[in-house]
Subunit: 222 residues, 2 copies
Amino acid sequence: MTTASDRAYDTIRAMILSGELSAGDALGEEALAERCGVSRTPIRDALRRLESDLLIRRTGTQRSFVSDWSLGDVGDAFELRAMLEGYAARRAAEAMTEDVMAQLRACNAAIGAAIAGQKPDVRTFLDRNREFHALVLDAAGSRRLTNLLTALIEQPVVWRTAHHYSHEAFQRSHSEHNDLLSAFERRDGVWAETVMMGHIRRAFHAYSDAHKGMTERERGVA
Amino acid sequence: MTTASDRAYDTIRAMILSGELSAGDALGEEALAERCGVSRTPIRDALRRLESDLLIRRTGTQRSFVSDWSLGDVGDAFELRAMLEGYAARRAAEAMTEDVMAQLRACNAAIGAAIAGQKPDVRTFLDRNREFHALVLDAAGSRRLTNLLTALIEQPVVWRTAHHYSHEAFQRSHSEHNDLLSAFERRDGVWAETVMMGHIRRAFHAYSDAHKGMTERERGVA
DNA sequence: CTTTGGCAAATTGTATACAATAAAGCCGGT
DNA sequence: ACCGGCTTTATTGTATACAATTTGCCAAAG
């Protein structure tokens, strides 16, 4: 079932990520309730969730604002992801089963197919990439780790970066996943951790470059 | 101001940690509302927070239960703490100021005083220890890191372990804090990280030993 | 004896009304 | 013109009522 609270969460989230609401904007519960077509109760629920995502910030008196994500903040998030997903990869390697391996191989094969042609299927790439990382996380078998990481991974601000990837960048990502598979096959936790950390850091640099380009373009327009 | 929602959160949390509610128990919103003397609205708020602490678990249909913390789960939490607080220590070392150093020294001096006599002041030790770690975390200067760690650190299940510490264990903890101060003075991030990770891991082993003793005692009674 | 169907009770989701609190505007004094 | 305190307004916190959904139970059929 899809509750009103979920819809409100998705709606507000989309408004923030699309730029319809920009950093620093005040988020009144009543105003949001009207825009989402629900009452304040599910809105309050949604705000709590968005707060734990750090997408909104609350003052001492519980007023909500869209939080501003500096490049440094995004860097932080990536650094933490690198550390935690690296750890997840290590644990996954140590606990890997043939069943999960098969799923991972299938998943990365799908990624390979999606980016084979001249015009890569970015949508499929993103979905499968997300699935790949979710499988690794799941294989690590730590609810708490999963809990911490989902908040960090679900940052569509970042996902959109992939739309600016070059052909080489897609191939590189695909190939790094293969390295990961090798490490898993050999139950080599340390190798898996190293590869994963590099994989995430590379993604950050890709984001960083794309972001720099975008802000420069924006500055040119303004 | 202390809101009803906060009181409800504290009350339910205390009920779980004290063992008044045991693992697997169902948490009906109405029943909790009555026990806390508030309505269901702030209870729902509190349950959301407890869920993100992983102190309670929710089924697909949103029913709440006290989650069971196996030794493995606690180990997970400590391992993540070691990694994240190690990272925090590294960053803190790199960004350390004389002002924060002074606060840290004062804090650890207070810890030293609290455990100097034959009968250590456990309460003061815990408060000051918490403050010490909070200062380090703050000095690391990453909101997101703080966000991730607070959920991991605020686990009174674990804090109570200190009541079973030996004289040596207290001294050891105090001395490790001093090592940390040395690393901070020298801006040696790697050293700080190593010391912090060891510090947390040691705490886990202390917990683990104490826990083992406790369950064995329980088994003897039953 | 097990299973399945549906009914009844309990539980959660949502809306709305009201109370408490903080922000903003206003006015008079300096 | 500027500042301090007061009043007004806007916003959030809480309680309660009702709707939607789930769970448990019991009876009847296989």
